[in-house]
């Protein structure tokens, strides 16, 4: 008789945490450092973003186009090879379908900071965006192998 452990009862010690930053795309390249949890290691898994002020279910204002951007992290790991339009992964706004953000994979050790670089290829279009970072914190430091790639 083969007994199969039920995976649905396995709870990861890493639990979801999320935070938001308001970012000004005032230059072609915006580099910022995030240290989300201070004394806890952090794994960044998803990034979502939107442009404040746009109607959620309406059409875009006349003449409006989304900025083309790229996102990369420490050691130059590129999550969105740019230029890629923000509307391909962003939160619903102006009648878009929900996309839930872009999947990424970056690790931050305790007391370290994650560097995110956003390049705006359309400088005249959007100076400010709101970005949501979704990831997992490490609640248990021991007994769990955590492969830090970067």
């Amino acid at each position: 008789m083969i007994k199969t452990p039920p995976s649905q009862f396995v709870v990861s010690p890493n639990e979801d945490v999320r935070f938001q930053r308001n970012i000004s795309l005032v230059g072609e390249t915006t580099i910022f450092l995030i240290s989300p949890l201070g004394s806890e290691a952090f794994k960044l898994e998803r990034i979502n973003a939107y442009i404040p002020g746009l109607k959620i279910d309406d059409t875009l204002p006349a003449g409006f186009t989304y900025p083309n951007i790229s996102i990369e992290s420490n050691s130059g790991k590129v999550f969105t090879p740019g230029p890629i339009s923000m509307r391909t992964f962003t939160s619903p706004m102006a009648g878009q379908l929900w996309k839930g953000g872009v999947r990424v994979n970056a690790h931050v050790k305790k007391f370290e900071k994650l560097r995110i670089r956003i390049t705006n290829y359309d400088l005249a279009i959007v100076p400010n965006i709101r970005v949501l970072f979704i990831g997992k914190r490490r609640l248990q430091e021991s007994g769990y192998t955590y492969n830090v790639i970067e």
Binding site: K3, V11, D16, Q20, N48, I56, D57, P92
Partner: protein
């Protein structure tokens, strides 16, 4: 294929009596100029494994439905004293898209799309899912959140989830 015939699923049958899907709803009337707070209480006899979050919100501002999100909120686990949202997050960044039209008020139609967002966290027994919301609008808006997951019933003797005991019985 031959091996599949021999899989023992009796564990699932026995464990299902102590684990079941549950939803914890929270409704907050978010008035301008002040933080509004509400919470859902996890029962004393179960841990709650949250897996997804859904919700809706209104977009009133200046007496009309402007269709632009004005609400941000935080989620806090009182049991572990852990913030799940490190700061206030705009609700349209994680709801899907969540905006509903206010009845009887002129404005744009609301979308009815629905897509639950992943939100994995264990809220322990007797803790609270505490949500604090604020708005940039001049009007009061409504935020409704629902936390979807499973309740794991606890053993009355040692306070461990009953499924752990069953699991040990089956798998050692």
């Amino acid at each position: 294929m031959e091996n599949l015939k021999n899989i023992d699923i009796s564990f699932l049958n026995e464990a299902s009596a102590y684990v079941w899907p549950v939803k914890y709803p929270i409704t907050i009337e978010v008035a301008p100029g002040q933080d509004a707070q509400d919470s859902a209480e996890i029962p004393a006899n179960a841990h709650f494994l949250c897996q997804r979050i859904t919700g809706t919100y209104t977009t009133l501002d200046g007496g009309i439905d402007v269709g632009v999100n004005q609400i941000s909120c935080r989620v806090f686990d009182t049991g572990k004293s852990l913030p799940q949202f490190e700061n206030f997050i705009d609700v349209n960044l994680f709801l899907t898209p969540g905006r509903i039209r206010s009845a009887g008020i002129a404005g744009d139609p609301g979308s009815e799309l629905f897509y639950p967002d992943e939100f994995c966290h264990v809220f322990s027994a007797k803790s609270n899912i505490q949500v604090t919301a604020r708005t940039e609008s001049a009007d009061t808006n409504t935020l409704k959140l629902t936390f979807h997951g499973y309740n794991f019933i606890l053993d009355g003797v040692n306070g461990e989830p009953v499924v752990n005991k069953i699991k040990k019985k089956f798998f050692g």
